[in-house]
Each structure stands twice: as C-alpha cells, then as structure tokens.
C-alpha cells in the first residue's frame, strides 16, 4: 500500500518549496512532486522602466546569489545596446562574481546543507584530541585542529544540547540512521560550521570592497563599473586581496577536506549514491579572467555521456504548464509563451504524519513551469557546469575533477549522485579560487596602463533594441532577455536555474530533476525524511528565482530563448 510524505516548508533554502512523495511498503519512493508555493511577478514590473534600472530591479529576484541577476540585467541591456564594457570593468565584474561563488557555496555547504551531513548532537561524544589528529587525514594543514579549540567548540554546543532551548537547532532529525560521520568527524564539521560564519562575513566584505555592499551590491552600471576610486587605491585592492586569501584558505583547508571526508564516510550510504535519475546536464559560459580565457564552458550532455558535449540551440527550448498553475498546457516555444494563472490549489489527503493538504499529481501542482530542451528535462548547476567543462576538455576542470576522484577513490559514476552534486559545487569553488588569483593579477597589471572603467553610449529613442545575457551563476545556467522600445523596457524575461531543476512533470509525464532525483530512494523513517531534504538541498534550491518569472496579467512578456552562442558572455 502506498503512503505519502509531505515536506513543507523545505527549510534552509531560498524561497518557498514543498515536496510530496509517495512511498511503497519498503519505504522506497515511487513518485515525487516538487512545488513552488510563492509567486511574485517581477518582469511585469520591469515593463516601461528605464533600461538602466533593469539590473537594480532584477537583482531583487534573489538576495542570496544577490549579484547574479544584477550583472545579468546590466549585461543584457549592454548586449542590446551593443556596448562592450572596458577590460577593467569586465575583470572587476568577474572578481565580484568569483567573490559571490566563494561566499555562496561556503554558506550553502555549511549553513544550509551541512546539517544534512553532520549530526551536531553526536559531536558531543567526540574525543577532541582524536578529532584533531583525524583532521590531518583530510588536509595537510587542517583548520579544525588543536584539542583545545575543539574542546571549546564542544563546550559551546553543549549549552544547546544539554540544558536549554535548542533555538534554531531544535526538532531536527538528530540521531537519524543515515548520518554517517563518526563523533570526531561531526566535531570537525561543526567547528567549521562556526568558523564559516566568520569566513562568510569576510567573503561578503570581499564583494563589498568593489560592490559597496553585499547583499545587493551597487557599483555596476550599464557601460561598466563605478568603483573607480576603489580600483585606484592600493589600500582597497589590498583589502580585496586579503579577504580573498582568507576565504580561499578556508575553502582549501576546510571545505575541500570536509567534502573528501563526506565522500569517504558516505561512500556506503545508498541514499546519497542515488539522486540523479535525469542524466542530462546543461551549462553556460561566463567570467573572463584574462583577454582570452573564461572560467566556464557551455553546452549540454545527454544520458551522462561525457564524451559528447552538444552546442545549445535555442530553437529547442519549450515551456509547458500541464502540471503548473497556469492555463495553456501545450508546450510552447518561449516566443509564444503564455502565463495565465489557473490556480487549482491542493487536495485533502492522508500522510504518514496525519491529514494534510497534498499536491494533485494528476493535475496542476506548482507555480514553476516545466522548461524542456528538445522535449527533455535538464539539470543545471555546479555539477552540470563541471561535467560540461570536463567534457569540453577544460584543463583546469579536468585537473580538479581527476584529482578529487583519485584522492577519494570514487569512480566517475559517483558524480551522478547527491554526493557528486555536493562535490561538484565544492570543485567549482576551487576553480573560482584559482581563477580569482589570475583575474586579480591581470586587473592590477592592466590598471597601470588603462584607467577606463565605463564605456560611453547613448540610447536612441527611435530605435528598437533586443539583447540577452547568458551565463552560469551559483545555481546554474541563467539568461535574461530584453527588448527596448521608445527608450524604455518593452519586454523582459529571465530563464533561471531553479526553474529547470524544480520543474514539475510535463505532458509526457517526465518528471523534473528534483522529482526524478528522489525516485528510488528508500527512506529509513518516513516521519523523518532526512534523505529527501539532503537530496533536495544538494541542488541548492532558489525558489524566488524559479517563480519570479510569472505574470498574472497573462501577458506574454518577452521572447524567451536560450542563446545558441552561450559560449559568449552575453
């Protein structure tokens, strides 16, 4: 007899997400439904505005990868107007992007995803001296060392667990049977969890040096960047570099080591060695670090076949709403896309935790539409980027991935799992560290001979412009599409990473990546679905992004396509 598990809210993510799954008698997931439960409508609001404002408004799509939509909004308009920003500006933008990745991925791994791997209550049983010794197994110079320091961490957490109120740590799935770290390993990760709170502050400062603030930086403008005084100040450059080094140090000595440790500890845990039933991956290029090199590649792969990377052709993108809360079910090319709401709500149902509202899997059940490439669902994100770059023969990525696989003894196949997705994100962060060094060096050299930071341009009100941005951001492939008429925005559309990943089923019944990832997983205790949370978190969901695109007025807001030339930064 099948039973249903409802997880709502999925916490430790951005936005509002629900997952309903159906389990059989063995507690194995046979069906899964993902639903975005908020919608906002930002493109409608952009219509009629000054094109130079687009970046500021799209930035508010997400305050977590706060810089992604800002840069995308600015660069889509630049692309429309035919502006090439000066080299200095390109490098500064890359450096801010790199700062974002370093910040965002560290916060994701430790503060959002970390508690899926690390049982903090178990850390109390650890022997701090043993833990300190153990740390050397995963890093030459570990961050969490010294029995004293680890004892202090333990003491600090004891106050939560023993006596009082657990605050934000209350009522979690502590003690769950799929937690695999030893007490010592838990203590190591826990001490990094606390340390990462400091590190993320530094990483945010790194962006703020050139960006004014983080979240929501404010130093990009159509044509270039405005932070010229900071760029011409050795003190400010030094501040950036110091923050960069401090963050990079933590990434290399803690983040890398902890994922290696997780790979070892969880190498026999079935529920994390699944989680990838859609083996189609798509990625976009971005982040120039020199005049000739960008950090990311673009393309897509099918069925996990790394030997062939295909070029993206935007003609093959469709969206449909068979199972989304909109009218017009048939798959439409985004050019013809329609967005008329048709909210059908939830059904009353029974779950393992008792009666609740449940998703109508036969009908409509999400505010997220179903984008498809050539009729196929696609996974996007750091793992997709690493796989596509790897398949493209990107030497930096090949080296990083091969090293990691040989150090952990994992086969390539292990990448196509929940664990692999988490490792892919860490490897991408390592790539940012490497690229960031070079970009910074190139910027300092170039500033000696070139002071340009902002291109001249004008907008002809009698002309119509059309342009786009596409590139990978922390959660995967992102593109923005803009049409300008009479000097104001006529159409605006964003295609965001989480729409691909959180997609509901289509008319063929093909599930989206979140949904497919869950099917086949066996949960140890249906009332404590840690396995579900862990797999969903490995995607790093960002639901405000996924659902911002909808327009309740039912207008077709914009042409909506993916650039065939995703090899270019917009």
């Amino acid at each position: 007899m099948s039973r249903r598990i409802v997880v709502d809210p999925i916490t430790r993510i951005e936005g509002h997400l629900r997952v309903d799954v159906v389990i059989d008698d063995n507690n194995t997931i046979t069906d899964a439904y993902a639903s975005g439960t908020l919608f906002r409508g930002i493109e409608t609001i952009l219509k009629g505005r000054d094109p130079r404002d687009a970046g500021f408004m799209t930035q508010r799509i997400c305050g977590v990868c706060t810089y992604s939509h800002y840069k995308a909004g600015i660069e889509a308009v630049e692309n429309a107007l035919g502006i090439i920003p000066p080299y200095n500006a390109q490098l500064v933008r890359s450096l801010m992007g790199i700062a974002l990745f370093m910040h965002d991925h560290v916060v994701h791994f430790y503060h959002l995803h970390g508690l899926d791997w690390c049982d903090i209550t178990q850390a109390l049983a650890a022997d701090p001296r043993k833990a300190s010794d153990l740390a050397f197994r995963y890093a030459d110079f570990p961050v969490a060392t010294g029995a004293d320091e680890l004892t202090a961490v333990q003491a600090r957490v004891k106050t939560f667990v023993d006596k009082g109120h657990l605050g934000p740590f209350a009522n979690a799935y502590w003690g769950h049977s799929t937690y695999r770290f030893t007490p010592e390993q838990n203590l190591i990760v826990l001490s990094h969890y606390l340390k990462a709170l400091e590190v993320q502050r530094l990483a945010a400062q790194m962006m703020a040096v050139f960006g004014a603030k983080q979240p929501h930086p404010q130093s990009l403008t159509v044509g270039g960047v405005t932070c010229i005084m900071d760029l011409e100040s050795p003190k400010r450059l030094g501040e950036f570099l110091t923050r960069f080094e401090q963050t990079a140090d933590f990434i290399k000595r803690a983040y890398y080591a902890d994922v290696k440790m997780a790979a070892e500890a969880y190498g026999s845990e079935d529920s994390v060695l699944q989680g990838c039933n859609i083996r189609n991956f798509m990625a976009s290029s971005q982040y120039p670090i020199s005049r000739t090199e960008s950090l990311f590649d673009s393309g897509y792969i099918l069925d996990g076949d790394l030997s062939r990377v295909y070029d993206i052709d935007d003609e093959h993108i469709t969206e449909e709403a068979t199972h989304a809360w909109y009218q017009n079910n048939e798959p439409l090319h985004p050019y013809e896309g329609k967005t008329q709401p048709n909210y059908t709500g939830f059904q009353d149902g029974d779950t393992v935790n008792g009666p609740a509202k449940i998703l109508d899997g036969q009908g409509k059940y999400s505010w997220v539409k179903a984008p498809r490439y050539n009729g196929k669902p696609m996974e996007v994100g750091p793992l997709a980027q690493m796989l596509v770059s790897y398949g493209r023969g990107n030497p930096r990525v090949q080296k990083l991935v091969n090293n990691f696989l040989s150090e952990t003894g994992l086969p390539v196949e292990a990448l196509f799992t929940t664990l692999g997705r988490t490792a892919g994100r860490m490897l991408q962060t390592m790539l940012m560290v490497e690229g960031g060094h070079e970009a910074f060096g190139n910027l300092v050299e170039n500033l000696k001979v070139d002071r340009e930071t902002c291109a001249a341009y004008s907008i002809d009100n009698n002309r119509e412009y059309r342009g786009s941005f596409s590139g990978d951001v922390p959660r995967g492939a992102l593109s923005h599409w803009v049409t300008i008429k009479n000097g104001v925005i006529d159409h605006y559309q964003c295609v965001v990473p989480s729409t691909w990943n959180a997609s509901p089923r289509d008319a063929q019944g093909q599930p989206g990546p979140y949904e497919a990832a869950l099917v086949g997983t066996t949960v140890a205790d249906p009332t404590q679905p840690l396995e579900i949370i862990r797999t969903i978190h490995s995607f790093d969901p960002c639901l405000a992004c996924a659902i911002h695109v909808m327009d309740v007025e039912g207008n077709c807001l914009a042409e909506y396509r993916v650039d065939p030339q995703t090899g270019q930064t917009s």
């Binding site: 809210p9 934000p168 709500g345």
Partner: protein
C-alpha cells in the same frame, strides 16, 4: 552624533536620567523573567570565543552611540545584550528574496552573529533552522503558544493578497502567508518589519503590483516597527532589537514607522561627498575625471537628498563600504515605494521634493521636518548646481566631447517616474 530631539527641550541630563531609570527598570523586569536558555553567561561564552570584556564594552559603547544614546548607557546596552537570550524571536519569510536574512547573517562586530546564534532565542527562521516540514511547523506552533505575548515577531517580505492570498502558501496544511502572519502577530509582544518588502511592499508591490502585495502594517492590527532598506544594514536590524530589549517599548518612530535613531538623518547630510556638492563639483558621467576624484553623484542620479538612513555613518559589511563610496548614487531604498518614486536611478530627480511630512502616515514627524528644512536650503543648491541636468534631462553616459550622442529626454521615461501617491 545625532541627538534625540526631546533632549533639546528637556533639561538634557534630566532626560537621560529618566531614560536610564526606565532602562534599568526594564532590565530588572527581564532579569526576573525566566530565561529561555540556561548555561554559562554571555561573557563567559564570549570569552570562550576570544572576545574580551573590554571588546564587549567597546561594542556596547558603539551600539549605544548608534542608538543615539550617550556613552554612559554602555552598561545598560551590555546588560541588554546579556539578557537577549531571554527573548524568543520568531522570524517569518513571506514574499521576498531573503536578502534581509543574508544581511542579518553578516551582523556586525564584534561577533554579532555570535549574539544572534547564541543569545537571542531564534525559535523559527526558515533559512537557518535545522528542522524542516512537520517538525518546523511544530516549532512554530509550540513557540507561539509557549511564548504567547512575549516573543518578538520579525517579518521579511510582503503579503501577497490577490487570489485570496494563495500566491503564497506554507506548511503541510498549506496556510497562506496572510493567515500565518495574522496568527503570529496576534501573540507577539512586538512586530518588526525587516526590509523594504515587509515595510512598504518592496519590489513585488512596485507598479503594477501584479500580486497585490502589501506591507505588513496594512495586514496586522498592531504597531509595526519598520526597519527600512533593501536590505537594511545589519546594524539597523540588531540595533532595533536591542532598543526593544533595553526599554521594553517601541523606539521613537518617524512618520513612516522607522526608528528615528537610525532614520532621522538624511544620507545627503552625512555624505562624504557633501563638500563636493556644495562646491558644485559633479560627476558628469560614470568613469569620468570627476568620478576618479570623488565628486558628488547628484547628476548621475544620487537620491541621497531625498533619503533618510544612516548608511553614510554605519556603512555595510562591517563598515567596508556603501554605494556612494563605490561611486554609485544612492537609490533611496529606505523610502516608501522607492521603486516607483525614485526611478530612474541614474537620473537626477528633477522636480521632486521629498514628500515625508506630507505623506499623511503619522503625526509626529519632527525628524522629517528637520529634513525638509534642510532640504529647502538644499533644493536651492540643487537648482543652482544641477541646472544642467534638469534642462538637459537625459543622461546616458555619453562621452564628454560627443554632444551629439546625448539624446533628448523622452516623455515616456519621465512618466515612469511619476507617482499617484506622491503629493505635489
């Protein structure tokens, strides 16, 4: 620093005497209340984390200053911080981008995140809490019950009201955001709106407001403290909580519900480029020589003259920077409906004057009046210095010698800056 206005009328010392005894009474009260958490004292725990008593007192002095209190209040501020963990906080996310939570995560020196994680009892916060689904729902229910009348409710995000509120549902029972907010506000001792979305509706409430998103003060039947900004600085979020702990009452608010201690100064008056403004030295286009020299950004759209916030003093990310330091104008993000009233962000605001005191949203607005008084003087300055931009209108970062590339302003662009709610 800015002094409380009442202090100027009262005998100043008498005023602060009274305030102090008020604070002490409040602290007594809190001390008597049973703590939510037990365990080692704040100081012991801070010391365990490498924060000395001296550092802590320094922080308390800085925080007292930020709250517009004399430095003699540092002891009370320190005590308030020590008592923080007795106050449960429930933090809701409605229609928003989570930027405000991210801002909170960056909290200020020394180790304010330590304070947040260890010393407030943060009962419910979707982005940070370990529990999910039914388990998190249970926490929300029980803490609302258990701490009824005592918890601080913090809300990030606007309330979508269209379609019966169904554009946002949360939890296994799929309650609407509106339902959850009303219920949580009922039992709250204080309601704090964090950020532009909760305070004034934010980006989703910008024209044409497709989801009928509302500010929370229009949904709950309680006084709401508005911590404006998109996002507000971490200092303003933490400072507001501290103020409540110190005095047990809402802080003095301006006509838009913002705590006066943080929002009674105009960005323009505290701006490091103000001398340039007064001297008539303006950045003409981004990337020009004036930009390299730090000239005033008014002509490239700075909304500092119309914006009340303390960013010029507090800055962001532990005082690392703020928009004007990074060479971009202020976009006015702490003002109501700034998405409609302050756009376009890279054009001077032309004929608009700050509407503060006439907005009709509250009676007591002395801080605004002061601002208006200053603005009148400033408006003359703007008129004199920036006449070029007003007549020229359009501003597209042209190259300086290429006059032809400057295209005259379009009606359509101007119209998009008009607003019905803006009194003339």
């Amino acid at each position: 620093m800015v002094r409380s206005r009442d202090a100027q009328s009262d005998s100043k010392s008498q005023y602060y005497e009274n305030l102090k005894s008020q604070a002490q009474q409040r602290l007594e009260q809190l001390r008597a209340a049973s703590p939510v958490k037990e365990g080692p004292s704040l100081l012991q725990r801070l010391e365990g984390n490498g924060v000395s008593r001296r550092d802590f007192m320094k922080w308390a002095a800085a925080m007292a200053a930020a709250l517009s209190l004399p430095v003699t209040f540092r002891r009370e501020v320190a005590q308030a911080a020590e008592l923080l963990d007795r106050i449960p906080v429930i933090y809701l996310h409605l229609a928003e981008c989570t930027g405000c939570s991210e801002s909170l995560l960056r909290s200020d020196s020394p180790t304010l995140d330590t304070l947040i994680f260890d010393y407030i009892s943060l009962e419910y916060h979707e982005t940070l809490m370990a529990a999910s689904g039914w388990q998190s729902e249970e926490i929300l229910e029980t803490s609302m019950e258990q701490h009824k009348g005592n918890y601080i409710l913090m809300v990030e995000g606007a309330v979508p009201m269209a379609a019966g509120g169904t554009y946002l549902t949360i939890g296994p029972h799929a309650h609407t955001g509106e339902y959850i907010l009303r219920k949580a506000a009922d039992g709250a001792a204080a309601v704090i709106a964090v950020g532009a979305c909760a305070t004034y509706g934010g980006i989703q409430a910008a024209r044409p407001n497709p989801t009928n998103a509302r500010r929370i003060s229009r949904v709950v039947n309680k006084a709401v403290i508005n911590i404006a900004g998109c996002p507000p600085s971490e200092a303003n979020i933490i400072g507001t909580i501290l103020h409540y702990v110190l005095f047990g009452t809402l802080p003095a608010l301006d006509s838009f519900g913002r705590p006066r201690w943080a929002y009674n100064m105009r960005v323009h008056d505290m701006c490091e480029r103000r001398g340039r403004f007064d001297a008539g030295e303006f950045v003409q286009r981004f990337g020009d020589d004036g930009a390299r020299r730090g000239y005033c950004l008014y002509r490239v759209g700075c909304k500092g003259p119309f914006t009340f916030n303390n960013c010029a003093i507090e800055r962001f990310n532990q005082h690392t920077s703020w928009p004007i330091q990074a060479g971009h104008g202020c976009i006015g993000c702490s003002e109501p409906d700034f998405w409609d009233t302050m756009a376009p962000y890279e054009e001077p605001r032309k004929n608009h004057l700050y509407a503060g005191v006439f907005g009709g949203m509250g009676a007591d607005a002395t801080a605004d009046k002061i601002g208006i008084g200053l603005l009148t003087a400033t408006a003359v300055g703007i008129g004199a210095h920036a006449i070029y931009s007003i007549t020229q209108g359009n501003f597209r970062n042209p190259s300086l010698d290429d006059k032809k590339s400057v295209v005259p302003s379009q009606e359509s662009t101007d119209q998009s800056t008009e607003t019905e709610s803006q009194p003339k």
